[in-house]
Symmetry: C2
Subunit: 319 residues, 2 copies
Amino acid sequence: MILAPGKKVLALSGGVGGAKLALGLARVLEPEQLTVVANTADDFEHLGLHIAPDLDTVMYTLAGLNNPQQGWGLAGESWQCLDALAALGGEDWFRLGDKDLATHLQRTEQLRQGRSLSQVTRDLCGKLGVQTRLLPMTDGPVRTMVQCAAGEMPFQQYFVREQCRPVVTGFRFDGIESARPQPEILQLLQGQELAAVIICPSNPFVSVDPILKLPGLRQALLDCSCPLIAVSPIVGGEAIKGPAAKMLRELGREVSAAAVAEHYHGLVNTFVLDEDDATLAAGIRASGMDVTVAPTIMRSLDDREQLARVLIDVAGGET
Amino acid sequence: MILAPGKKVLALSGGVGGAKLALGLARVLEPEQLTVVANTADDFEHLGLHIAPDLDTVMYTLAGLNNPQQGWGLAGESWQCLDALAALGGEDWFRLGDKDLATHLQRTEQLRQGRSLSQVTRDLCGKLGVQTRLLPMTDGPVRTMVQCAAGEMPFQQYFVREQCRPVVTGFRFDGIESARPQPEILQLLQGQELAAVIICPSNPFVSVDPILKLPGLRQALLDCSCPLIAVSPIVGGEAIKGPAAKMLRELGREVSAAAVAEHYHGLVNTFVLDEDDATLAAGIRASGMDVTVAPTIMRSLDDREQLARVLIDVAGGET
C-alpha cells in the first residue's frame, strides 16, 4: 500500500490522457482510495442518444475495454451500424461503434426513466467491473461551446466534425452557472480523508476548466487543506494528444508546459513536468509553484503506474 | 406486361407473408403499377427508437436485403450492440441487429426533425433502392393492444417478449379513431387506375384489421369499383407463420381458411385458397364470395411471382 488506509485521492480527468493516469492510480491504490471525476462538458445529444465521450473513455479504460490504438472507444469494435447509417444518408461524422452504441442506448434509456447521470454511470461501471468510483462532474447539462472567428460551435462539432480546424478565440461553458458540482466531490474536499487532488494531463481549456468552473468548486479546492497537483499535458512544446497546443497558440500563449502552469496559477500547489521540460522548472518555481520533474509520457502500463506513484509521493504518501 | 399500362394494384400487407407476396407483385409489375401499404399498428417505441417491424420487413424484402431464414431482419446481420446491451443489463428481448439499428436511428432522428413516417419511409426506400411505392398505413400513431385474460398488453410484448403465449380474447387498436389513412390510399381507391386491391396472406386480426379499421377506409374499399382479393394466410388448418391459427382457436373460431373468408365477408370479392384447401371452396362460394384455388405457399421466388400472376389474372389483368 502506497497511501495510508483511509486516505483518498481525487482525480479530475478529461478523456484519453486523463484516463491513462486514472488507470495508473487505480492500479496502485485500493478501490476505495480513488475517486475519478470526468468532464461532461463535451457530452452531447446525437441521434437522440446522450453521448458522454470523456466519461466513457475513462470508464472503458478503467474496465480494460478501451482501444489503446485509437485512444477512444472500445477494443474489438465493429462498425456495422455506422456503415448502414451512412448508406441510409444518416449522420456518420461521429464514429459510433456497435458495442459503444449499447452504452449510449442504455444510458439514454435510463436517463429517460428519470435516473441521474451519476446513478447511470455507477450502474454501467458495475456491469463493466469498474471498481473505482467514477463520477460525472455534474448531473446537470453543461456544454462546451468553442468560440471561433465565425461564431461559436458545440465542442464535438469543433473536435470531431471540424477536426479542430477552426481557429479558437475562447470557450463558453453553456449552462455552467446553474450546474451543481457532484455532491460527492464537495464532500471529499470538505472531509479529512483526502491526500491529494490530481489534475490529470488533460486539456486545460476544454477538459479541466469546465470542472474547475463549476459553481463553488474552485473555492472548495482552495479551502481544501490537501495538495492540488497538476500534470502537464504539454511535453516538449507539443500536446501528447488533442488540440491543447493548437489552442495555446491560437489564444496567443506560449506553447509550453509553463503556459499550462500559468493557467493553473493561484490554484495548483505542485506542477508536474516531464523530464524533457526540466529546464522550465526554475521559471515555474519562481512564480511560486512547487515543481516535480518526472517521466509523464504514459506508453506502457508500467509508465501509468510509475507516474501514479510519483504523484502519490508528491502528495506525501507512504511510498 | 401482365397488367395494362396505367393500371395499378394496391396491396395491404403485414410482415413476412405479406412481404413475400409484395415482392412477387413487384417482380411481375412495373414499379409505378404497385403500391404496398404496410400495417404500422405493431410499431412501438423501444430504447427511444421508433421501430416499425412490418414496414421494415416489407422494405427489406423489396430491397432484397431481408433474412429469408429468420423471416425478419436483415441478411448478414450482426449482434454486437445487442450482446453489449445485454451485458449492461439493458433490454434485449427485442432482437435489434447492428445494421437494423441504423434504420431505427435514422427513422427516429428524421421523425424528431418533424418529418412524417411516410416521408421517412420514402427516403429509406430510396436509399435502399426500393422502387415500389411503400406506404405506412397512416402517419399517426395506432398501436395494437392484445387483450388477454390478465388484461391487455402492447403487441410486441405479446408477440416477441411473451412469444404469443397468452390466450387472446380480442384486440384493440389504440389511437385508431383519430388516425387518418395515408391520403395516397384514398386517392388510389377513388381514382380510375386501380385494377385490384389485394389483401396479402397476413394475419387478419393484427396485420390486416388495423388497416381496414382506419376511419373511412372500409367505406372507400366498398365504394371502389375494382375487385378486392384476399389470400388466405391459413393453409391446411395452420398458419404459414405467426399466431393466426392460435388466435382463431382462442377466439372460438374454426382454424381454417374458411374462417378467414368469413372474417372478410361483406368486404372481399374473391378469396384465394391454397390447393390443399380446395374442398373448402364450395362452402365459401355458398356464402357469396368468389373463390380461386391456387398454390399459395411461397417457398421460392418463382412461387411468389406465380401467385402474383394468379392474383392479377383474377383482377382481370392481361395474362
